[in-house]
């Protein structure tokens, strides 16, 4: 079955319908519902209970806002990784700009998309890179062969046939075969994105 045959089949299917009397009565039923709602909205409140309930609800909201603020602060670092680990987001972004995405970068400024002017980025498995320079944490999704700037460092990301990843900077080289590398407080992590998701 091809798509047009499927569409024709779907369109041929009809839905069951209520009897004709239902349709005759329905518009008036909706109008009555609207009039009733309007009357209820204008009914004066003589009861003190709703006010007490509103006061109580407001207090709960304020407490909840404090709790969420506290929780968000703790979760911020985790969230930045989570955004890039969202398969749907990455897939949608790549689909929107085929062969143009050089990197999707997440840092303290938020999420940034680095695009090539032309559709010349070769298709290859996406790579996840995370760098912490002692003050700032940045992470990104990119592809082998891309030259990128992250945490103030310019580097080229390469992957080898065995799935190993190499980052070549101006004055350093990092390999996933020797991940314990640390220089000038630079902590690096890089792996295929498929292992992060």
């Amino acid at each position: 079955m091809n798509n047009s045959e499927l569409d024709a089949l779907l369109k041929k299917a009809r839905t069951p319908e209520p009897p004709e009397e239902f349709w005759e009565e329905f518009p008036q039923q909706v109008a009555r519902g609207l009039n009733r709602a309007r009357t209820e909205n204008f009914r004066p409140r003589q009861n003190w209970f709703p006010r007490l309930a509103w006061g109580f609800a407001t207090a709960i909201c304020i407490l909840a806002a404090f709790a969420v603020g506290h929780w968000r602060g703790r979760m911020e670092a985790k969230a930045s990784t989570d955004v890039l680990a969202d398969a749907t987001m990455v897939r949608e972004t790549l689909a929107m700009f085929p062969n143009q995405v050089r990197a999707i970068v997440q840092d303290e400024h938020g999420l940034n998309l680095v695009l090539s002017d032309n559709a010349d980025v070769p298709a290859s498995p996406p790579i996840y890179v995370s760098i912490y320079d002692g003050k700032h944490h940045s992470s990104l999704v990119t592809f082998s062969g891309q030259e990128i700037q992250i945490a103030g460092q310019k580097m080229t990301v390469l992957s080898d046939a065995q799935g190993g990843i190499i980052l070549m900077g101006n004055d350093f080289a990092w390999s996933s075969r020797d991940p314990a590398y640390e220089k000038n407080d630079l902590k690096i992590e890089a792996k295929p994105l498929s292992t992060v998701m």
Binding site: N3, K11, A13, R14, P16, P18, F22, R38
Partner: protein, 186 residues
Amino acid sequence: MARMAQPDEPNWIQNSLAGDTEAYAAIVKEHQKMVHAVAFRMTGSLADAEDLTQETFLRAFRQIDSFRGESKFSTWLCQIAVNLGLNWCARENRRDDIHSEWAADAISENDSRGGFPDELSRRVQNALDKLPAKQRAAIVLTIYENQTHAEAAKTLNCTEATVSWRVFTARQKLKRLLKGISHEQF
């Protein structure tokens, strides 16, 4: 579906904006069957489709000042119906424990009210019911309501690429579920 707008519709909308419920009743009469069909395809139940149709029109009246005329009024109504349908699906999914009981009720109710007009319609709806809600919504909008992927993306608050992906995946599943049915059979 490509529908001709009723020539009086702009006046009905203007009067409804001023709070005229009789003018709004005329709008309801014009679009009630389309909204009901969308609601039924989203829920698979006559009783829930009736409730959802009513809820769609009540909500549309409350939000009618947000209708800017950028799309047809029917498209705007369809957008509200599909989003209410998605909320309905989310609520139903949360009620896992009584879901099977509800499904049995819905089937017997459809049967008792005459049910589906033919076997093809029943099988197609059963297949639609098996799709995840968001994929079902994408099929309802793009195939039954003839919306472009861009319009459907606006309704579903996602990217066009997501709509395309959902339609693609849904089509694969529907082809599998409806395998063996040919037009001539029905």
